[in-house]
Point group: C2
């Protein structure tokens, strides 16, 4: 089933006659202008070159592959209307650490499959800062650009082969990444982004010929990278907003992307406000860095056995435990607090922890997994220092939420109809645990919705729905970006949020029953 | 002196600050939108890539090279505002037999120089028909395209070297040619143009990256080919109208391009009507084919010695006569008629020609140059058959003028404020002679104005004046193209015009005094 509103449409072109001797290209143009109810469309020379013989051998019908840029519709390619050759698109999440590709059938809108790979730029620098420094060296930018483009090309080639397609079957690419990843992907100088006054080179990259940015797909193929709002608010978030439909909601909703930084957007179809948690000092280290990234043997869930009051754990693929990941850490903190093993200040209690607590170099450590049960030959512990960092991070998250929702947007948390949790890390958080430690506000559990990879999701939406173009531009224009001022008021709010769940326990009524 | 309205402008871009952290590209965009009073502009990725370091090292000033396409302004390149590197454009007349290039300084609007070369496609086919037939062969179109593009590239390289420039200094190319030459230049299938219902592939070719059509200039360079109205009315004529300013005249004027065919446009700023003489059967052979093309020794002027009543001749470079060209032929016919050596039916009079007339194979020949005075060892003669062809041609020209000016536009010849004669051949016609034989209407001699190579002229205008883009599109849209119906009425008018000057001598009052 071909979606009527998609980018692939079969059209009939008026046949020429002695009384209508308009050129083929202009008749095709008129046909598409009528079909799309637009005022103009761009047709590339490569399509025009063979137009006379193609139209005549196709009986003046054609399958059109369309796309858009900021100002107009584009005819990407013109195909035999009766051929079965596939028409594919590729959505790409250009992550700092991982790049995810999703192959889409543009005629049905269905996903064919996904693949992903570690961003090879990581070998040069693990974070964006290191990469920008490297980009200043002679040939550095070109090398960083080549690494990611070559990686994408290899993965495009592999996934196509895997599903029995050719890379030439791909006609459209949409990509979303943070501002710096987007610059590096396009080969654009990124160095001003990290220097005051933090100026990206480009906010809205135009639709390009894919080959113009080195992407090896169909020679007529086009690529569009999501626009950014500034250094801290990238195309990945615009893509996430598109995916969550935040910009079309009647009642206010919120989307929180918890990654290395926390980025937050709150709003509805009438207004959008955003801020990035990079301004919160305790979040700068990043919650997700406190543990390990998810892999077999990593503890991803922790809970209290209701009979024994012991802490129970689950590991990925149920292998012997080797460490703990971010979501496990939040579960653990919640379990420690709810079982009173830590107090409201987030300090270990010797009384309740008993023999599970030991002291090393004067620092308390909580033994989660004994040496015997561990997969690394050593006990798996949480130190008071680790816990303090988590406390700061959860407090920063809550404070930022409070600042933007209450102080800035003038709402109560209860006014939020949906609380979208985006990002890979966010996907695994148990909202009940996050509420228990006062990281997320105490609103009904059904309000929370996990979006998964919303950056990829928005890029997929754009491949299926031409209207998404206007929404993207409108989202970008309508967002009010709030610079977080880490002033005395912020610090006071932050101090209150460092308690478990909060100095003001009335904010967490659901915990009163505990 | 930089013309304020040209394509090269130096601008100042707002400097970034913490309160204006818009991206460099978007600040440049805004600056140009304000400068050009437009609503959007396209900036290529190649310019964006180096924008941050360029803008900062140029102190947020830049020399911009601009261009247009049908829908928007384009930033072609961004240059150091204080550099002296030349910014050049090339206007090209893409003739079927000859290609003429004019190198223009885009900052001053001055022409630097011209060069020209025989269209190398002539080796494949002397006329457009033969070339179209050849284009249907495997690789034929590519070969024809390559021939003209390679020729242009070589000449661009040569003329640049000659004036001490690099081909990379050229940023804009404008080209005008007939519909088929334009298709071949762009590598577009032309074969439907000559088959009923005579459909070009394209009416309005969009502005292209020059490298996209194989032109070797600056890698950011752009090329625009003038649009056509149909198979018979090409970009060369649109260019000619632009050059003549016919579309801006208050009172009606006419432009006649006399080449292999005769193409005529009549009108003013309010309306434009056109027709092409290819529909006139007697013109199909073409006036210009009757003699030789201009070269040393060719008779280009003929007149009557008022004392002796002998015919006098002038040859190009005053070499010994070897033949006669089109303009010489019209002079000769006028002289023959005015000296009564031919009668009003265009037949040689034995009584007046005397010994200058001889008969070969039953056909009368008029000896213009004796064997002794000739540069070819034979007398130079005009046969009755040659003359009959000229008579038909001049009659066709007059009839077409009559049809379009009087019958179609409803004007009298006297209403025409200007009579522009365009085309290489037209440049050499003596209007007095053309009136004398009844080829051109008997209007005041100062009404006539020779335009020269108006196809090249219009292409030059477009390099200097951005407003020309809108005029070109408007000219194309507003022209009413008149199909000449060779019906009984036409044939009656044609018969009357085959007399010298016309059966209705009252139309040529200036000849009554003779």
């Amino acid at each position: 089933m071909m979606p009527k509103m998609g980018f692939v449409r079969t059209v009939s072109i008026e046949t020429p006659s002695l009384t209508n001797n308009t050129a083929d290209a202009q008749r095709l143009e008129k046909c598409l202008i009528d079909e799309l109810k637009t005022d103009h469309i761009r047709i590339p020379l490569s399509v025009i070159k063979k137009l006379p013989s193609n139209l005549r051998s196709w009986n003046f019908r054609a399958k059109t592959v369309l796309f858009k840029d900021r100002y107009s519709w584009i005819l990407v390619d013109l195909l035999n209307p009766v051929s079965n050759s596939p028409v594919l698109g590729m959505a790409i999440d250009i992550g700092t650490t991982r790049v995810v590709l999703s192959l889409i059938n543009l005629e049905t809108g269905q996903e064919i499959g996904q693949t992903s790979f570690d961003n090879p730029q990581s070998d040069i620098g693990p974070d964006v800062l290191a990469r920008i420094h490297y980009s200043r060296q002679d040939g550095g930018l070109e090398e960083l650009n080549h690494l990611v483009i070559a990686g994408v090309n290899k993965n495009i080639s592999d996934i196509c082969k895997g599903y029995g397609y050719k890379k030439e079957d791909i006609l459209l690419i949409t990509g979303a990444g943070n501002t710096i990843m987007t610059h590096l992907f396009l080969g654009i100088e990124p160095n001003q982004i990290i220097k005051e006054p933090y100026i990206p080179c480009v906010n809205i990259p135009d639709t390009q010929f894919a080959e113009n940015i080195g992407l090896e797909i169909n020679k007529n193929g086009r690529a569009f990278l999501f626009p950014n709002i500034g250094s801290y608010f990238g195309g990945d978030l615009i893509s996430g907003i598109l995916y969550s439909n935040l910009d079309q909601k009647e009642a206010p909703c919120i989307m929180v992307d918890v990654g290395t930084n926390a980025e937050i957007v709150v709003g509805s179809r009438d207004w959008l406000m955003a801020c990035a948690g990079a301004a919160g000092p305790a979040l700068e280290g990043g919650i997700s860095k406190m543990g390990m990234t998810a892999k077999p043997g990593v503890i991803d869930k922790v809970w209290i056995d209701s009979k024994t009051n012991h802490l129970k754990i689950h590991t990925i693929e149920e292998k012997s435990p080797i460490g703990i990941c971010g979501s496990g850490m939040i579960d653990l903190a919640a379990s420690l607090f709810l079982s009173k093993r830590i107090d409201i200040r987030g300090k270990f209690s010797e009384e309740t922890c008993k023999e599970q607590l030991l002291e090393k170099d004067g620092i308390k450590h909580f033994i989660l997994v004994s040496k015997d049960d561990s997969g690394i030959g050593d006990p798996i512990c949480l130190s008071q220092i680790d816990l303090n960092l988590l406390t700061s991070s959860k407090a920063a998250m809550y404070t930022i939420l409070e600042v933007i929702v209450k102080n800035t947007a003038g709402l109560e948390f209860e006014d939020l109809k949906k609380f979208y949790v985006a990002g890979t890390f966010g996907s695994f958080i148990n909202p009940v645990s996050a509420i228990s430690i006062g990281m997320l506000p105490d609103i009904p559990i059904e309000t929370f919705e996990v979006l998964g990879n919303s950056s990829l999701g928005g890029a997929q939406v754009l491949l299926k729905n031409p209207d998404a173009f206007e929404r993207i531009i409108k989202i970008r224009q309508s967002i009010t970006y709030i610079e977080l001022n880490v002033n005395q008021e912020f610090m006071n709010m932050f101090s209150g949020a460092k308690f478990y769940p909060h100095t003001d326990t009335s904010r967490f009524p659901s915990l009163n029953s505990v």
